[in-house]
């Protein structure tokens, strides 16, 4: 019964979405206030319907209702409740329902928080969100019904990929989806602005919180995904340039560019055409990721079970939204003439540099991700583009970006003074060089990791210099504290996010000097790695909730003293006979000791041992970046459309 209600709720949501995609937009075109006023109630109605649909799906998984095909294929009664629930969005059908639920949530948020939005703009934005929701609901109903019944019901489900039974991964997709879907809202704002033929500073102010919110979630999602890959896949790496990882990085890059260019729209009333294009591209990249993962055109550990029929449907949706929006863009963009004036040495000039570099990185990543696919259909050649290409191609773009970041943050609007900005950054530059030199000369780092450390120091010190400068720490130390309290949260947020990127870069540089070894140890034997003695104490069998495990005990000693005891495991899942390896990690915030248990041979176990300096900084930096974004989001000027202080143009 409940699954039928869920199915009905999906159909209801679809009808609401279709109405939502017509009435408010037509109303806005005709200037009919009553039609436009339908936008908000429709958006709320859709949220309720989608909530009911997703709730029904969760229920089916929670009670392990084996008459539902999706539950049979993806769940099992022996699974802990949390993984039963996360199983509901760990598969293709359920994840699409979650996707649309989040979209409905965003639509209702625009309706609820957007009281100050001009009525016509709000009606159009909600209407465009209705187009997107309607398309994806049709996709779910016609090709991916999550409530499909199966009769007679099998005695139990067929489990879930044990690799996916993990708390980090349970939360990883929803977080990413919030990010992806958040760019649906900025896309809707862009399309609405094109329909209206007007982009002004107020538009920039409305888009920015959405761009920032989506960016925060995407940052957290990517960070979690990277962390999951690090501790769960057991390869000791944090980023593999896997096509699906790239598919999440692309909207992040486009969104980062949008985040910065929308500031220029808001403050200087220029870069409008570019920002609208970026808003379209950010959502395009989100959809592209969805398409790549679900259509089966690429080979990846992340790819969902896929059939080409679904791929054609998603491609059709993607082309309707993207090509439609870009056609509208080509037609209407000439109306969005810039009104602000533009000096190259200014904050807006720096933000343009930022945009160009970030977009170039995105173009490189996009090209590297798609080239093997297109080379295959164009020339029939099978090529794979791997980390060496991505590292070599993005580094020359990332370095100037990082160098420019603190300088740009120091620049005033309209007309800046490069020399003055550099003067205030001299000690940041000096400490960066010192750290780079120390790494190279004393710690014996190779060139790239040493450069990375210098870059990291430059960003962290640059952010500190920015804050110190704003609060007048050196000019008037007595008032610094008061000024620090008065500094807008957006300024704090930007400084924290910029500094946090430095922390991540330090972690990445640290991984550049990581060491590992593959050893075969019998009980009592030991080996040395990175100044530690790793002693194999023995193997044992363990029984988990739904798996059996072979567990090694490895004691790590330094100078004869026990540092930690690691327990890497190899787990065999009973239901589907899969095995996973659980890496054992000990961290002290400055380095990770990482052990993976391999096969056993002749009474000895094969162990892979890693020493990863600064590794935790990668994810700490990612989270801190998101924290900076959130702090900026909580700025009062973001929440209410209060006129921005100094330098803002009056909205037309």
């Amino acid at each position: 019964m409940i699954p039928e209600l869920g199915h009905f709720a999906l159909a209801l949501a679809c009808i609401i979405a279709i109405v939502q995609s017509v009435l408010p937009v037509v109303g806005a075109a005709r200037g009919d206030a009553r039609w436009m006023a339908t936008a908000a109630p429709l958006a709320v109605g859709m949220l309720l319907a989608m909530g009911a649909a997703f709730g029904s799906l969760l229920w089916a998984f929670a009670v392990n209702d084996t008459t539902v095909m999706n539950v049979v294929a993806n769940s099992h009664s022996a699974k802990p409740l949390i993984y039963k629930l996360s199983g509901s969005w760990g598969n293709h059908e359920g994840s699409m329902v979650l996707w649309v639920l989040i979209l409905a949530l965003c639509g209702a948020a625009v309706a609820g928080f957007g009281r100050d939005l001009p009525t016509a703009l709000k009606a159009r934005v909600i209407g465009v969100l209705g187009w997107i929701a309607a398309g994806f609901l049709l996709f779910i109903i016609f090709t991916s019904n999550p409530f499909e019944r199966v009769w007679p019901p099998p005695p139990d489900g067929q489990g879930l990929n044990p690799v996916l039974q993990d708390p980090g991964l349970a939360m990883h997709p929803p977080t990413l989806y919030v990010g992806y879907v958040g760019y649906a809202v900025t896309f809707a704002f862009a399309v609405a602005a094109l329909l209206e033929g007007r982009v002004d500073a107020a538009w920039g102010r409305w888009v920015r919180p959405w761009a920032l919110g989506a960016w925060c979630f995407l940052t957290v999602g990517i960070t979690m995904g990277s962390w999951w890959a690090y501790y769960e896949l057991g390869w000791g790496g944090y980023w593999f340039w896997d096509p699906v990882e790239n598919a999440s990085l692309l909207p992040w890059l486009a969104g980062t560019a949008l985040l910065h260019s929308s500031i220029v729209v808001e403050k200087r009333d220029t870069l409008k055409v570019w920002s609208v294009l970026l808003a379209i591209l950010a959502f395009t990249m989100s959809l592209l990721g969805t398409f790549l993962v679900r259509s089966g055109v690429l080979n990846s550990v992340h790819a969902f079970a896929s059939d080409p029929g679904r791929g054609v449907f998603i491609l059709a949706l993607l082309m309707i939204y993207v090509a439609g929006a870009l056609a509208l863009f080509a037609w209407r963009a000439p109306r969005l003439a810039p009104t602000g004036i533009f000096a190259p040495i200014s904050r807006e000039g720096a933000l343009v540099v930022n945009n160009l570099l970030i977009c170039s990185i995105a173009a490189v990543v996009l090209a590297g991700t798609l080239w093997p696919l297109f080379a295959d259909i164009l020339t029939g050649a099978k090529i794979s583009v791997g980390p060496p290409f991505f590292n070599a191609a993005t580094a020359p773009l990332a370095i100037p970006l990082v160098v420019a970041m603190p300088i740009g943050a120091m620049m005033p609007w309209k007309r800046g003074d490069l020399w003055a900005a550099l003067q205030r950054l001299w000690w940041a530059a000096a400490s960066a060089m010192l750290i780079g030199f120390l790494c190279l000369a004393l710690a014996g780092y190779p060139v790239w990791p040493a450069l990375g450390m210098a870059m990291a120091a430059w960003l962290v010190m640059g952010a500190a210099a920015d804050v110190a400068d704003r609060i007048g720490l050196f000019r008037r130390p007595s008032q610094a504290w008061r000024r620090a309290l008065g500094l807008p949260r957006a300024a704090w947020g930007a400084a924290i996010a910029h500094g946090a990127l430095g922390i991540s870069i330090a972690g990445i540089a640290g991984m550049g000097v990581a060491t590992d070894t593959l050893v075969q140890l019998a009980a009592g034997q030991s080996t040395r790695l990175a100044g530690y003695e790793w002693r194999m104490d023995g193997l044992s069998d363990e029984i988990g909730a739904n798996y059996r495990a072979r567990r090694a005990t490895v004691t790590v000693l330094r100078d004869g003293k026990v540092v930690t005891v690691l327990h890497p495991e190899r787990r065999s899942f009973i239901v589907d006979n899969q095995t996973t390896s659980e890496a054992a990690i000990h961290t002290n915030a400055m380095r990770d000791l990482y052990a993976v248990l391999g096969e056993e041979r002749d009474g000895a176990a094969v162990l892979r041992l890693h020493h990863n300096p600064f590794a935790p900084w990668i994810w700490f930096g990612g989270l801190a970046m998101a924290l900076g974004g959130m702090l900026s989001l909580s700025d009062r000027r973001m929440r209410v459309a209060a006129p921005a202080p100094k330098g803002a143009t009056v909205p037309a």
Binding site: L250, V297, N299, A305, V322, A337, A363, I377
Partner: protein
């Protein structure tokens, strides 16, 4: 679809309007490319997983392999793979010393239970070890040839064991998969092809 910096940040709008169409053009081209890929997925012309074989669409090279005496199975020769065949045939290169072959074995057993003819080529193996492997894990093969020197594997262009080929009823190689077939590969790749060439 693409992130070209084509429309400059602050475009001088007049005279460069065509640049505004550049993103649309790129997106359309990419969309057309994706459509070709999706079509290719359905027809088997495009496969992101498989390593292509030079033999795709051709008949396997000529060979004749002796049987594994302990197994009572007939040997395998190219004549057994010549048209007309009653149904498509799966040819699997394996060895008892190969750990991924153990991982793959349940999938072969499933195919065999479903009535799909699975022919095995035992690669660089000792007869006793090969027989032991089949006794221990079950025998999915209808025919089994012993390629002890590994010559035939070279002719087929085998990367390593396990490696699996699909031969259609006309005796042409339609699909090759290098590495252990997982249940997903079996269900998503091989089974649709078996249905298509049935």
């Amino acid at each position: 679809m693409s992130e070209t910096p084509a429309p400059a940040p602050a475009p001088a709008v007049r005279g460069r309007r065509w640049m505004l169409y550049a993103p649309l053009g790129l997106a359309t081209a990419a969309g057309a490319g994706f459509l070709v890929m999706l079509r290719g997925l359905q027809t088997g012309d495009y496969n992101p997983r498989g390593v292509p074989s030079a033999l795709l669409g051709r008949a396997p090279p000529d060979f004749s392999l002796p049987p594994l005496d302990a197994s009572d199975l007939p040997g395998l020769s190219a004549a057994d793979l010549r048209a007309p065949l009653p149904s498509p045939v799966v040819v699997n290169f394996w060895a008892s010393w190969c750990v991924p072959c153990i991982v793959e074995h349940p999938q072969l057993m499933r195919l065999s239970r479903d009535g799909v003819p699975v022919f095995g080529i035992n690669y660089k193996d000792r007869p006793a070890d090969a027989a032991g492997f089949l006794t221990r894990y079950g025998n999915p093969f209808r025919r089994l040839g012993r390629d002890e020197p590994g010559r035939i594997a070279i002719d087929w262009g085998v990367y390593g064991v396990p490696e699996t080929y699909l031969i259609d009823r006309q005796g042409l190689i339609r699909w090759r998969y290098a590495g252990p077939m997982t249940p997903e590969i079996l269900d998503q790749d091989l089974r649709p092809l078996l249905r298509r060439y049935a």
